[in-house]
Symmetry: C2
Subunit: 320 residues, 2 copies
């Protein structure tokens, strides 16, 4: 994937070399720390590549790409407080390394800095980008609230689950792709296809994450397998099982919920296999993947889409 | 003040009648609840009046005015978490009525909604307003962090204190006043005078608050007197005393710090009176008040400034 390395390196450089004030240190140190933790930088990469589909240059798309990554990192800082997460990318989260108040405030500031990045574009582009990011940002908050609500709910329907992941994770990828089109002032039809491409791709990625958390290989996924099962997280596997299972299967699930961690993971995975739950989720992932490809194909441009397609292949195979 | 009642009623109506989605209720109920708690609505009123100085109409200035009040309320929701404050305007704060996670997330959403209000203006006005609000918003975060830092510091200089209140409270009033000028596309010199007018006024108001907390009359201020003294808050009275007091006076202050609440308040107020601390702070308040008036007088417009001046008189006298 050497052809992406220069873009990724430019994104990384832009994000980590950005100059923030030195004082107050308790406000800015956490921002610098968190932005330097790394990450796949998928969202900014999609902005850059989407802009390239219409002849856009890296220099021009970097501020918009950075805005998305900064916004994404703000959501992570605040989500980590809400989830009580001690680690992020194997290092302490902001509220762990400093405290919750500092994590709230530095997250707030990072969100404002994200929107401020867009100030580098002329007024009409600035307005289009800002309005889409504002709409997206509100949706991400709605998705996070739904996710928290689900923790206290016994039954979550498939529709509710899909709407939650659409809001919490997919709209931001849709926004990232649409940004590229807005930057290059392509048609609103193309911008809409870019958005839908990113949105369905985001849903497919999230379903893939759900599947890998239970059925992936530990060494490739890079984290312990079965975490979602252990915490009874409402994933697509969970909601599909609840919807399709017989009374006997539900009773077995109930019994396994209180079993030892090892037995719980192994037993529930078997239930998911026996009941064609895994199969159904894979089909659902494929459906959204296919929809994303349809929208990508609909985009009208003279520039080749091979680069984007190759990147998608790379991401899909890297994750498995 | 009947001439302001129609503006205040319009602002209140705009803020409380704004339609948010119904779901997720845990995200939107706190926003509706907090925005309905009321408040003096000073910031939006100054935007409306500043716009009127250049012939602006209420209808045109309302969205920008609302944006500032919504942003201000976002800061209150998050500050209340950080301060562990149980009440706001005699009612439970958001994190008390719901919980901290809900207060973090609904605050985040309210901040985005604040910026989104500006989307009602055409692109160049939208950009000017957004950029100023972004700059201001970051400064408010810096001020809040400095305020938190001060809690753990023994010595705070007058300069540090003034910079903290400038950032935490005054720049937003400066922004509110500048908004009126930006909306009506007046000269950059006028916009600068409007900003400085609001900024110095904000500093004068804050010093007045510090003084009233110790020397106001309980019935007029509407809260218990001496709270800042009891909590050893770094106010201008505190920093001035620390800077001017003799060793003997400092020793007495030290002794009084551990006395009963009643004795502590009474004794420290006497120290502030004997050491001309109160006198000095009043002079400082007057200095910033005078600067604000100078900037107001410098604004070039054919519209009378009497309305703004009358409002200022009203605010100053209402508070005493």
């Amino acid at each position: 994937m050497t052809q992406y390395e220069n873009r990724l390196a430019a994104i990384e450089h832009y994000l980590t070399q950005k100059k923030y004030p030195l004082e107050p240190a308790q406000l800015y140190d956490p921002i610098q720390y968190f932005m330097a933790l790394g990450g796949k930088r998928i969202r900014p990469l999609f902005t850059v590549l989407s802009a390239e589909l219409f002849g856009g240059t890296l220099d021009n798309s970097l501020p918009a790409a950075a805005a998305l990554e900064m916004f994404h990192n703000f959501t992570l800082i605040h989500d980590d407080i809400m989830d009580g997460a001690p680690k992020r990318r194997n290092l302490p989260t902001v509220h762990e390394k400093w405290n919750s108040n500092i994590a709230i405030l530095s997250g707030d500031a990072l969100m404002i800095y994200a929107f401020q990045e867009l100030g580098q574009y002329e007024a009409s582009t600035f307005k289009s980008l800002s309005i889409l990011l504002q709409k997206t940002a509100i949706e991400v908050c709605m998705g996070q609230q739904m996710d928290m609500d689900f923790e206290r709910m016994e039954v979550v329907s498939e529709a509710q689950y899909l709407e939650m992941i659409r809001l919490k994770t997919s709209v931001l990828l849709g926004c990232a792709c649409a940004f590229g089109g807005i930057l290059e002032k392509t048609t609103s039809t193309n911008i809409d296809h870019l958005y839908r491409f990113g949105e369905h791709l985001g849903i497919a990625f999230q379903i893939q994450d759900d599947i890998l958390d239970a059925f992936g290989s530990e060494s490739k996924v890079g984290k312990q397998i079965g975490g979602d099962i252990l915490s009874d997280k409402k994933t697509l596997l969970y909601t599909t099982f609840q919807q399709r299972a017989s009374s006997a299967e539900k009773a077995k699930h109930q019994y396994l919920s209180k079993a030892s961690p090892e037995e719980k993971i192994k037993g529930i995975k078997q239930l998911y296999l026996d009941g064609q739950v895994l199969e159904y989720c894979k089909a659902m992932q494929e459906k959204h993947w296919q929809k994303s490809q349809d929208h990508l194909n609909e985009i009208e441009t003279d520039v080749s889409k091979d680069g984007v397609k190759e990147l998608l292949n790379f991401i899909i195979h890297r994750n498995y």
